[in-house]
Point group: C2
Chain length 412, copies 2
């Protein structure tokens, strides 16, 4: 039986916080451009700090800029962490990451106004640079927190303009006042939009994430032979763009045959010399393949390599660099069982789900019992200014998050 | 019987002029980057002017920057024009266009030192912006000269950086001092490298161009739907890059089935938002289709449009803009007969050939008897820094050009 069965978050306040945060870096098309460590990110951080302090918490910053708003517990025990991120894609939406942080804030506010004290402290975290569009890799600060990425390497990461992560931190006035990780954590919870269409299609209020996709990322350089588009017979061409097009189509088939839940995507793509009447001599492209089953992911990767080998005819050469290889991840079964029990007790409909995207919870699962809760988003659309959710969906997810957080924080 | 049977050009001087011109905008890989109306083009123009004036001619500039080096005739008759271009592709070679201008210069020098006066004036033309890689369309200045393109439209053309053609002219100090076209021309001659593999394969010294390919150029904008690469199931995607890849492969088939001599090429290609973990929402690309038979070109175009229609599934939309439509062209039979006669008289091996590429001669053929002579290039490679020809090939082509020019200039 739950200790505080009637306590829930204030759905209207949660929604208005989301809408107010969305104004910072808001785009004409209704999305957000609030990339990590830009002035917009700085403005979002200042607002989050004001809100957290008004809710009676103390905010501390770690060396990578992640913000921890702490509500003390009754005992000196390891805290329960609730986290996500306030940074966005360049043409991102209002909810990706932000929902998880604003739901955490709403829990702090509700506890403060209801005078609730838990045994353990509760901390709400805004992780720096989750998106990875400005500084690669994605989930940089939680990776460093979990000891996966050395802090010096993280600070020395540069964006496409050559700006160092450490210098970008300073440029928006971030002054660290706590160490990076190191403390024991009782549990980690994250609420996030699904960024996929499954929950909406099945009418479920939340998804309980059982596992995360393994991921292989490659950079490919395809070299062909530049020549005149009008006078080079078709059979004498080594067109790098034609080879790239055939690789894209092969990847689409590899992804489709492994879907659901496998995916294969080419997102970045550049052609040289990029002249209307010159047969392209070079293409640079990225490859992104994902699957939650390591054996299937390896089989997809093998087919990809076979395709690459078969395309190297004539003067066509394809050079691959693997830039990321993330193993599939299973979330803590005990945490999942607890979430199922709480959702059932609250009458919140749920299903198990696999996470196609990476999240900070993936890194935190390496150092603490962790759980990731998904809420639906319209059409599964994300990384897009049209990203959209309903207030009642945000409220249901935040209520489950609060129940789980209070239960974990009252653990002995 | 020819009037001056023993007069030929100086092959060594022609070659050293080609090599000296190639230093301007010379690339580490041995090619040239001397795009139209850049400072490098300005430097090439200044050198050409010095050389022409030293050969006793007067250089005048038309409103689009084309340079006319005129050697007066004995009578006040319409001139014979010899022309080509000094601009290059961004990763172009040393001979495309330059051979024709340097061969013309060499004829002027030889006439000056031998004291030859023809009845008609001879003018050697350096046409502005033949390549079309900076300002579209290609052959812009000769099109305007021939009345195909209005001069104001030509001046208002902008490059990808938004720079106006007229402003680019001024920026490298070009001051026009003659009107655009309008005068009657007795004949037009152009010498150019083949940019294809046929003459080399058959061991012919020159190709006499009977016709030019018709050409359709399109700009395509493919719109799909941006979404997250990890969490959007394959069957729910509207990936603009996948649609573009399928269009590229379809165009390769359309070109291959019409080849020889038909071609189909995608040369320029850009992807948005161009982020590793975002399914592309937009692709912008160019399409280039060519065939010398108008009926076959129309059939290729029809298949292309059918492919575009079939690809518009889900949220995929393809918007086409036709940016060029050049009808196939037949060169003057009388000029061809004259060239055959002269080549036979000089013992220069020749064959008829179709031009896959467009040339300034195509526009000039609309307003004067015109002829286009090809010389071989190694492996048919052009629009490539590796473009290469032999000195004896340049000499044979230039000698035929000179014989033809003198014969035409002595016509009553």
């Amino acid at each position: 039986m739950h200790l505080r069965p009637n306590l829930g978050i204030d759905g209207d306040r949660l929604w208005s916080s989301l809408m107010e945060m969305a104004k910072i870096g808001g785009t004409p098309k209704g999305g957000c451009n609030r990339q990590a460590l830009t002035p917009e990110d700085g403005e979002a951080r200042a607002l989050f700090r004001r809100w957290c302090e008004a809710a009676g918490t103390t905010v501390r910053i770690d060396p990578l800029g992640s913000m921890f708003a702490r509500r003390e517990g009754l005992e000196d025990l390891p805290p329960v962490l609730i986290g996500s991120h306030l940074d966005t894609q360049p043409t991102g939406g209002k909810f990706d990451g932000v929902l998880g942080v604003m739901a955490g804030l709403e829990i702090l506010r509700r506890m403060e106004e209801a005078g609730i004290r838990t045994r353990r402290p509760i901390e709400v975290v805004n992780w720096t640079n989750e998106e990875g569009c400005r500084f690669a890799p994605a989930m940089l600060a939680s990776a460093a927190y979990a000891g996966v990425l050395p802090v010096e390497k993280a600070l020395d990461t540069r964006d496409i303009a050559g700006i160092r992560f450490g210098d970008a931190l300073e440029s928006i006035g971030i002054v660290p006042d706590r160490p990076l990780g190191g403390d024991k954590i009782a549990a980690y919870l994250e609420l996030h939009i699904e960024q996929g269409p499954i929950l909406e299609a099945e009418g479920k209020e939340v998804g309980l994430v059982t596992s995360g996709q393994g991921l292989f990322w490659y950079d490919a350089v395809i070299t062909g032979f530049e020549s005149h588009s009008g006078s080079t017979p078709m059979h004498m061409r080594d067109d790098a763009l034609v080879a790239a097009a055939q690789l894209i189509e092969a990847l689409r088939k590899i992804g489709t045959e492994a879907n659901p839940p496998g995916t294969a995507t080419v997102g970045q793509f550049e052609v040289f010399p990029n002249s209307r009447n010159v047969i392209p001599g070079e293409v640079r492209m990225t490859i992104d393949m994902r699957h939650p089953d390591p054996a299937v992911l390896r089989a997809m990767d093998q087919r990809f390599h076979e395709t690459v080998a078969a395309l190297q005819k004539g003067r066509i050469r394809i050079e691959l660099t693997q830039v990321a290889a993330t193993q599939p991840l299973s979330f803590d079964p005990g945490m999942l069982a607890m979430l199922r029990e709480e959702a059932d007790a609250m009458g919140i409909s749920h299903r198990n789900i696999i996470s196609g995207a990476g999240h900070d919870a993936f890194h935190m699962a390496k150092i603490a019992p962790a759980a990731l809760i998904f809420t639906p988003c319209a059409g599964g659309v994300s990384h897009n200014e049209a990203e959209s959710i309903e207030p009642h969906q945000a409220e249901a997810g935040a209520n489950l998050l609060m129940r789980a957080a209070l239960r974990l924080a009252d653990m002995p």
